[in-house]
Symmetry: C2
Subunit: 144 residues, 2 copies
DNA sequence: ACTTACTCTATCGGATTAGTAGAGTATTCT
DNA sequence: AGAATACTCTACTAATCCGATAGAGTAAGT
């Protein structure tokens, strides 16, 4: 299951993507409109800033704003940032590879390839899901 | 990521499936051969017994043994037993459905259908992966 | 200067994970 | 019957993670 942190991050990013042309948005506005505890959100936004997705402006008229193209930010990235690897086994991740300690022999492991397939399918789908596409999808659904 | 409990359970089940015709297997043998802490394994085997996969025999010559057909036990079931739902959002599980509390409107949620697709693909793959198939796959890999 | 608003450090309760200890109960062999 | 075997149950623990909060600090704008 996704952590709340990741869900909050996705919602905050979508919110900021929709307001991209309106300049910085207050943390307190994001918190209020997306139902996120403000202090918790502050930490999340900071992580997103440090990861290069957002920038912030201090003082009056300040706030956070998206600096990446909404098409270039996908769910896989956001999830990895907060929840770590998407794979279900450490031995089928690319970036964070680790042996399964209890595994006798990775070469003949009967479950490894299933989990590798699952991982690949999942990552593919999540990568295709970028902020722009999600926003389109939302308004599409809203019209019915 | 899968918990150790789930991984241990899978390994123990595979081990018992291979020894299906040999009668009961001691907890201590399973623990030793699969590198699982014995006391921890005891709890796992008990859960698997209560879930109807295994049965046990007490006293001398006792132990645990598989009572289901290896083709009828798949990874999705074992994972659900120990780690709960496979879906990444509570609103896309069938058995354990729950609203996402921070979700404003499920009908127009832009990420719901991606996660539904991911869940369905994953469950499908994991269901196809049963004990018999995994054992076949292992010996197949061992021959190269 | 003063206000606004982001940033950093520390802390916290509760839940979960992985594992341990030990007494208890049922079964079988002699 | 009694001993030995082997599963079963209850309780406990250490470590880690999750979600959240508090408060002081710092930077920017007016």
């Amino acid at each position: 299951m996704l952590s709340k942190k990741t869900k909050y991050a996705i919602n905050a990013m979508l919110f900021l993507a929709k307001r991209k042309e309106h300049g910085p948005v207050l943390i307190s506005s994001i918190a209020e409109e997306q139902n996120i505890p403000q202090k918790f959100l502050e930490a999340i936004l900071l992580d997103l800033k440090n990861a290069g997705y957002l920038n912030s402006k201090k003082g009056r008229g300040g706030g956070y704003y998206l600096i990446k193209d909404p098409e270039e930010v996908n769910l896989a990235e956001i999830m990895r940032l907060f929840d770590g690897p998407i794979a279900l086994l450490p031995c089928v991740t690319y970036r964070y590879y680790e042996r399964c300690e209890e595994c006798k022999d990775e070469e003949t492991c009967g479950i490894r390839d299933v989990f590798l397939q699952v991982r690949n399918e999942t990552v593919e789908k999540l990568k295709a899901s970028n902020l722009a596409q999600i926003i389109d999808r939302e308004s599409e659904l809203g019209e019915n």
